[in-house]
Symmetry: C2
Subunit: 191 residues, 2 copies
DNA sequence: ACAGTTGTGGACTGATCAGTCTCCTACTTC
DNA sequence: GAAGTAGGAGACTGATCAGTCCACAACTGT
């Protein structure tokens, strides 16, 4: 069986995710990873193979949490509209609190658009975000919470797009009033 | 007076802009720049000082063109609403045609959010975009093209945010139908 | 034509890059 | 407790990084 691993893989991936999130792929060196993960280079390469593969793992985990979190909030919600507002405002607050981080999904989409694996992961996750929103909006439509002539999928595609813009403006240091106005106008699309 | 420069500074900045646009700051090496600009390292450093300064120049130029282009289109327009649609669709087409490039402004906002100079340049340009839109919308409101109870600034902040999202979704390889739906829903905010 | 000045090209620098190798340690199984 | 196995630590690799240096070229003013 051999010597057991003295570090936790999940914890290590979380720390790597934090670094890539904050600094991007290119600006994060393997030295940064070794320091922050608290393990030696040899162990890092034995466990994860390469910087690219560790990035892929970290991104996949972020995407899963991101999509799962959104789906859960929308599924739980009794009313869809306040739930969507809550989601947008929560992410807005995250950006205001820590603008250097932003959204790893957006960072990945922009920094690594020449890397097919990353692009695929990003676009799949965007699809999940869209689906979660479309599902919630469809339920809202059936319940009469939004007008019957609205197309849930079109609204979902709009909201998915708007959400990414919100994250970009958060990184660009737009202030709370600006972002709040943007969110309120966007929510007007549901009327 | 000394030996005259044998390359054109403006052309060199344009080529650097293209490289940074496509690859980002970190992934572009000085070797790439030397090759693409067709000048020697010594000349590059004598003319531009450092990779950072050349990036700053390239970004500033992009921002100026971006803001000026938008302002001009909106100022020329007889009707504001079709002009805004045209702007959004034009940028959408640019992303569909060349998704690896996207928008340098968005790329800069996400990749370099830890660099104050870049952040300042980006946020100033976002402000210009907002102003251009707000000005056009105010004129539209006065002319009765949009409802009198709409707030031009709020709409402008929304559209500015949405626009950045459109560029991100373009990079994430969303298809034309998706982006088109998003744009049409967004334009609904003007109703 | 000569002095002064500034751009050019490319060799060169030390630092850092991602990734490998090897010796050592710590565990399981029998 | 011995044999077998797998992780840990960190020195090491060649490549590449951003940036410097300097001998030389090409121009201006006198």
């Amino acid at each position: 069986m051999g010597r057991p691993r003295t570090f936790d893989i999940d914890t290590a991936v979380d720390r790597a995710m934090e670094l890539f999130w904050r600094q991007g792929f290119e600006a994060t060196s393997t030295e940064d990873l070794v320091e922050s993960l608290g393990i030696a280079r040899g162990s890092l390469y034995k466990a994860f193979g390469s910087k690219e593969q560790l990035y892929a793992l970290a991104l996949r985990r972020y995407c899963q949490r991101h999509a799962a979190g959104l789906t859960e909030v929308l599924d739980r919600a009794e009313q869809v509209r306040p739930a969507i507002r809550a989601v947008l405002l929560e992410l807005m607050e995250a950006d205001l609190a820590d603008p250097e981080r932003g959204c790893l999904l957006v960072n990945a989409a922009t920094e690594r658009s020449a890397h097919p694996d990353t692009v695929l992961q990003v676009s799949r996750t965007m699809g999940q975000v869209e689906s979660a929103l479309a599902g919630a909006l469809e339920r809202a439509r059936v319940r009469g919470e939004i007008a019957a002539d609205k197309q849930p999928q079109e609204l979902a595609q709009f909201l998915t797009t708007f959400l990414q813009g919100l994250r970009v403006m958060g990184k660009a240091r737009a202030d709370r009033a600006f972002l709040n106005n943007a969110v309120e106008v966007a929510l007007g699309a549901l009327d």
